[in-house]
């Protein structure tokens, strides 16, 4: 038996209850309160599963000769923790935030079903259940994306999302079809027992990368993500960015690390290349974005890239039978997945609070919120520091582990890996640096400075439920940052299952130092760094206040003698990003700036127009859509032929088939 599986029917029941009670306050409390409780239980169940033996459950529904197989192992347990954590946090947040929802009947029925679908993906132990749950997850989240379908651009977002989700499902269908082989092994257990041939394994790996990667947001399959994630209500955005992308990562790990078995070394290079490009392109596009929620969505793309860099390293090490390295890289990737769930949820909650307080997502209309809100700016700052990969918070710990995996540098026999791994290290470093630039910009423009609109000047702090969710996640960012050893140890069973090795035991080491390989090689102690910084601040504050004059005088800003009373002269998001756009954007995003300065005597206003091109849209999707349209237009002719032509087509097809059959035999 499997207690955590009960969460699925319970959530579906809540979903049904949501249809009935959606319009009442009771419905809101029932649904989100119920989801909060179930998610907390789920997180605990997932935690238990890490060390417990595998649990199986077979239900007599689904495919007739396969049934519905569920399995809870360490990997599933870890991802259940993520779902429980992210889902619980989002539910807690929604207890307050959803009060402002105008159409609760469009959100409440789908929200628990979305959670249930994600849990089912993780627990599924046969291809049919997996794909069914995967599609259910896509459809429920699509419904949530379309909750505000009358708002500008949301219908398009939903449309693009639907196409990409279908594509992702199709790719996974192909992957499982290849894995099932001639015998039709749809249960994961029989796939594990009959591993595919190496050539087939390579194809499955690529197809799974496309299928899971388009859900996770790998470049160039990421185009739907920055459209769809921000379109949903903020707690659902947090769930989609913080949790659903992790479920996609889970799908990739389950297929490639578990089902496919040993892969060849080039599998690692493909994942490494895609991961590195995703990280840099994602963060660059985040830097150019002025919509706060879309910025966060692009940053999700970046973090997915970082996670896939870790997975690619792990595949590379595993293909060369370097168990310890594979375990280190996989642990780093999973640790980053956990971290991303915490800080990205926190940041989306913060964006939701800002949206509620001001009605604005456009950063150019915000500013000065730090004066109007008491708690949100502080916790949002913690999220920004964590996502920028700065010590002593958690983002740094996982990026540090990834760097350590890059630095292992065993003697790879393959030149592809020798050249790609250092390049990926550089891309990761670049992405980390750009991320901190991106979040200085995001925080500085939204919360600091002077308000750029009346709405920002009148902003008010959000409700206590939302605040408590944000505070919990901010505390988690700090905790996992200063005691990373606990997370590494928790992940040990997962790494052992998938790579056959584990990282050295971390807890119990003096002062909670983490030592990925050996003490002489590298170590990091988040707790001590945090303590040192705190102590130094205290010493400094005490000393300074003893030594120096005490007075603080408030005065108008100095600004080199030219303070401007209007907020227009302060730096805007567009001006902040301008140097970066000039340095990186001109090549990668083909950004352009056209200044129109009227000559003296001309009264029209001067203007500056900046244009950015998304290489994925213009290089892939536009031509693809054009080609499909062209083919559709041409094949439209077929609809207007005479009955004789159709009959001759049928006859010709028959003849061709007969000839083919003759040659074949």
């Amino acid at each position: 038996m499997m207690p955590v599986a009960w969460a699925i029917p319970c959530l579906l029941l809540l979903s049904a209850a949501g249809i009935v009670t959606a319009r009442s306050a009771f419905g809101r409390v029932l649904i989100y309160g119920g989801c909060l409780l179930l998610c907390s239980a789920l997180a605990i169940g997932g935690f238990d599963a890490l060390t417990a033996p595998n649990q199986h459950l077979q239900l007599p529904i689904g495919l007739p000769w396969v049934g519905t197989n569920l399995r809870l192992d360490a990997l599933a347990g870890f991802f259940l923790i993520l779902v429980g954590l992210g889902g619980g946090g989002a539910s807690l947040y929604a207890l307050g935030y959803a009060r402002h929802e105008e159409h609760p009947q469009r959100v409440l029925p789908f929200y628990p079903a979305f959670l249930a679908a994600m849990i089912l993906v993780i627990l599924a132990d046969d291809a049919f259940t997996f794909l069914f749950a995967w599609e259910l997850m896509s459809l429920t989240s699509w419904a949530l994306v379309m909750a505000h379908h009358r708002e500008d651009g949301n219908a398009r977002a939903g449309y693009v999302y639907l196409i990409m989700a279908t594509f992702s499902g199709l790719a996974l269908l192909l992957a499982f079809g290849l894995l099932a082989g001639d015998l039709g092994n749809y249960a994961f257990d029989s796939i594990r027992n009959n591993p595919p041939l190496p050539e087939v394994a390579g194809v499955v790996m690529l197809v799974a990368l496309i299928g899971a990667g388009s859900k996770a947001g790998l470049v160039p399959l990421h185009v739907w993500l920055p459209l769809a994630h921000p379109a949903a209500p903020s707690h659902v955005s947090a769930l989609m960015s913080g949790v659903m992308t992790k479920v996609a990562v889970y799908g990739f790990i389950r297929i490639v690390f578990d089902l496919v078995g040993p892969t060849q070394w080039w599998a690692g290079t493909v994942v490494l290349a895609v991961g590195g490009i995703t990280a840099v392109i994602g963060v660059l596009q985040a830097l150019m974005e002025r919509d706060l929620k879309r910025l966060l969505a692009y940053s999700t793309v970046e973090n997915i890239g970082i996670i896939f860099i870790g997975l690619g390293l792990s595949l590379a090490f595993r293909a060369n039978n370097l168990g310890a390295g594979a375990a280190l890289a996989l642990t780093a990737a999973l640790f980053h997945a956990l971290n991303h769930t915490t800080f990205k949820s926190l940041l989306f909650f913060g964006a939701g609070a800002v949206l509620h307080a001001t009605g604005q997502r456009d950063m150019e209309t915000l500013g000065g919120l730090i004066h109007r809100m008491k708690v949100t700016p502080f916790v949002f700052l913690i999220g920004c520091i964590a996502i920028s990969g700065l010590p002593p918070l958690n983002g740094f710990a996982s990026e540090w582990l990834t760097f350590q995996a890059v630095l292992l540098r065993p003697e790879f026999p393959q030149w592809g890996l020798k050249l790609l791994i250092p390049v990926d290290g550089a891309l990761l470093a670049l992405a980390a640096a750009l991320a901190s630039c991106c979040f200085v910009r995001a925080y500085g423009i939204c919360f600091l400075g002077r308000p750029r609109s009346d709405a920002a000047a009148q902003a008010r702090e959000t409700d206590p439920w939302s605040l408590s969710a944000m505070i919990v996640f901010a505390a988690l960012c700090l905790l996992t940052g200063i005691i990373p050893g606990a997370v590494i140890d928790t992940l040990a069973p997962v790494a052992r299952d998938l790579t056959g090795a584990r990282m050295p035991v971390q807890l119990g080491d003096a002062w909670q130092t983490i030592v990925p390989i050996a003490a002489s090689r590298s170590s990091y102690n988040g707790l001590l760094v945090f303590a040192f910084i705190t102590i130094s601040i205290l010493i400094t504050v005490v000393t300074i206040h003893r030594l120096s004059a005490h007075g603080v005088r408030r005065a108008p800003p100095w600004d080199c003698g030219f303070p401007d009373p209007t907020p227009l002269s302060q730096y805007s998001a567009a001006s902040f990003e301008q140097p970066i756009r000039r340095v990186f954007g001109t090549v990668l995003l083909r950004s352009k700036e056209v200044v129109d300065m009227p000559p003296p005597g001309d009264n029209r206003p001067a203007s500056i127009v900046r244009t950015i091109h998304d290489p994925a849209w213009e290089g892939i999707y536009r031509p693809l859509a054009a080609t499909i349209g062209w083919i559709a237009g041409k094949s439209d002719l077929l609809a207007y032929l005479t009955i004789r032509s159709y009959l001759s087509f049928v006859f010709a097809a028959l003849v061709v088939l007969l000839i083919a059959l003759t040659i074949w035999q």
Binding site: F403, V423, S522, A549, D559
Partner: protein, 316 residues
């Protein structure tokens, strides 16, 4: 137990108290080269005392972040500086943060300062923050590439172990190490806002980066930031000394005599570094802001090339 702790504390105090002197030395060298007498070498101390004695003038609409940032910036820089071996390769807390952590700690300090620059909502503050982050977006990966090169050669990212390895003298001349040194010098110049990337003594609107960011600060807050800046300069010089010219540094733990030798060797290295910096700043002209990415891009490429060489062949 007592001696290593003492050594660590001495290191922390020494690097803090001597860093303004280094700034004074650089300024003195520059003014002598410009045929000026220049201010006394201890002028930076006087400046700090003067700033501490003045009341802090804070802009009307500055938030709590503006007032906390200087302390955080100073504390992070100080912790980073405390992790750099100066006179002895055996620092008590060296294991709590390696070179990557030191780089990232400086990144935290910069993050706080850039935010503080945007807090008041003036055009100069935003200009400084934006440019600083642009420079950092290239300097930080370059720095990490240097860390990678050095770590791959020494087999460790810990500065104490690296210093010990370099002291052993089995390293010899390596192409990758030379590239790392060149890249580190560029990064050090950029990160400390020295000529040709930034000019610490300018207040000309269009050229300043760091100074624009801290324009609104005064009194004790400004003192903290100035001290942090001088600490950072000393940190980078010590890092170069520790990795590339570790000679004289005490390799064995708990040997007071060796430590004393190491201390004077370090002082000599710092003086030499300060003089070299002063000379370099005098003979080089400041760059346009949009030349800086090319300059730093060169550092990034050198660093990456060094790492690639090391991945391809261990002997390079």
């Amino acid at each position: 137990m007592i001696y290593p702790l003492l050594a660590q504390l001495v290191q922390m105090t020494v690097i803090l108290t001597l860093s303004p002197l280094l700034i004074g030395l650089v300024r003195k060298v520059k003014s002598r080269l410009q045929r000026r007498r220049g201010a006394s070498m201890i002028q930076p101390y006087r400046d700090l005392r003067r700033l501490l004695g003045k009341e802090a003038v804070v802009a009307d609409n500055a938030s709590w972040l503006f007032r906390i940032a200087p302390y955080f910036v100073f504390a992070s820089t100080w912790v980073a500086a405390a992790l750099i071996p100066t006179f002895s390769a055996n620092l008590m807390f060296s294991w709590s943060g390696d070179l990557i952590a030191i780089t990232a700690l400086l990144g935290s300090a910069r993050f706080a300062l850039a935010l503080a620059g945007m807090d008041v909502g003036t055009s100069f503050g935003g200009l400084g923050s934006s440019r600083e982050m642009m420079i950092a977006s290239l300097a930080e990966p370059a720095m990490l590439m240097i860390v990678f090169s050095v770590a791959l050669i020494a087999g460790s990212t810990e500065l104490s172990t690296i210093a010990g390895y370099m002291l052993n003298g089995q390293v010899g001349l390596r192409v990758s190490l030379a590239m790392a040194l060149a890249a580190l010098l560029i990064v050090a110049v950029a990160e400390n806002g020295r000529i040709p990337v930034d000019n610490p003594s300018t207040h000309l609107e269009l050229t300043m980066v760091h100074e624009a960011m801290v324009l609104e600060y005064s009194g004790r807050h400004l003192a903290m930031i100035e001290l942090a800046a001088s600490l950072q300069l000393m940190l980078y010089l010590s890092m170069v000394a520790c990795i590339f010219i570790p000679f004289g540094m005490a390799a064995d733990a708990n040997r007071p005599l060796l430590d004393a030798v190491g201390f004077f060797a370090w002082l000599a290295k710092m003086a030499a570094g300060g003089i070299a910096l002063g000379v370099a700043e005098t003979i080089v002209a400041k760059m346009r802001v949009f030349r800086v990415p090319n300059f730093l891009g060169a550092a990034l490429m050198l660093g990456l090339l060094g790492v690639l060489l090391l991945f391809v062949s261990r002997g390079m």
